[in-house]
């Protein structure tokens, strides 16, 4: 694309490297930014530029934070008897949004994937074991495994269940079944099988 501005071209190219953003969306975003008030664009640029300086990883739960330990780990109102293990920081946001969970978290940083060469030593598994053994965490009674419902998540769930069962009273996993608001007719076989298997008394 010879005939446009190199500055614009560079921005489009950099935006289109981001996930979910193709060349066309990148073009649209860049042209949109061009028309916005100068201070809004500067604020976005600063937000992006200072993100990594300000954000770090909690030394206890490995979640994203600006303070260490993170606000969840230091909050005395949270239930210290339960730790919910998730794959990514995003999963913490998603679970927090439900307002259903008042315990602590542990972010693994991924899931076991032999094909991609990701083993337990690449995840925060050792850190989780250390939390369970540490003095102030001996109160942990339950570990909830909330992995993504795919092959890697399943492998991680089974691995952790085996590893953690001797150390805590209960190791549980979140329910798999028909999503709320969907249609039974369109549920896939695997989901429906899990839903039947996990049926509860009404």
């Amino acid at each position: 694309m010879l005939y446009t501005s190199p500055a614009l071209e560079t921005l489009i190219e950099r935006l289109s490297r981001l996930p979910t953003i193709g060349r066309k969306t990148a073009q649209r975003l860049a042209l949109y930014l061009l028309k916005q008030p100068r201070e809004d664009v500067a604020a976005l640029a600063t937000s992006i530029g200072t993100l990594q300086e300000r954000v770090r990883t909690c030394s206890i739960c490995a979640n994203i934070t600006e303070l260490d330990p993170c606000p969840i780990c230091r909050d005395s109102r949270r239930d210290r008897n339960v730790i919910c293990v998730v794959e990514e920081p995003n999963d913490v946001l998603v679970i927090e949004r439900t307002n259903e969970f008042k315990g602590l978290y542990h972010v693994l940083g991924g899931s076991l994937s032999p094909l991609e060469g990701v083993g337990p030593e690449d995840l925060k598994v050792r850190e989780l074991l250390m939390r369970l053994r540490a003095d102030d965490e001996t109160s942990v009674k339950e570990i909830i495994l909330a992995m993504d419902p795919n092959v890697e998540g399943e492998a991680t769930t089974l691995y952790l269940a085996k590893l953690l069962s001797p150390l805590v009273d209960r190791v549980t996993r979140i329910a798999r079944g028909i999503p709320i608001g969907s249609d039974l007719e369109y549920a896939d076989d695997a989901t429906l099988a899990r839903a039947l298997e996990g049926r509860t008394i009404v």
Copy 2:
């Protein structure tokens, strides 16, 4: 969302104001940026921050450029007999990509929309008339109108056709019809009607 980093939260909020980016995509983008090499993120921030300083509008065709006049207007190899009128700078990129058009452009900056209070004086219509009257542009033989195929685009096309017809030999519009690669069965009635109306001899 109390429990995440304010820097991250601010970035997510600012990203989600962009077109086509909702809250979930903004979260995903922010968390992606967090994991990228520091220099890549800094480069993106700089690209966004310096965009408006570097990019301006061509004083002849109103297209986006860093040099004034823009590279298309100053290119002696372009055909000065034809001007293609488009709504937005993005349309120039799209037409340039086809490599089919070797004339000049004129970017209106929008389309006529009485409902939104956009009249001819809000678009670069006066500038287009001045181009046609200027000495070095008297060579213009054809104006191609390439507006978006919607109500506003149609109104703009009819308005400009009436205004420009006395000034140039030919005022044309780009063809409306069945898009290449699509299925006749799924074409809407209006498109199909235009396609029949605009039929050509094989």
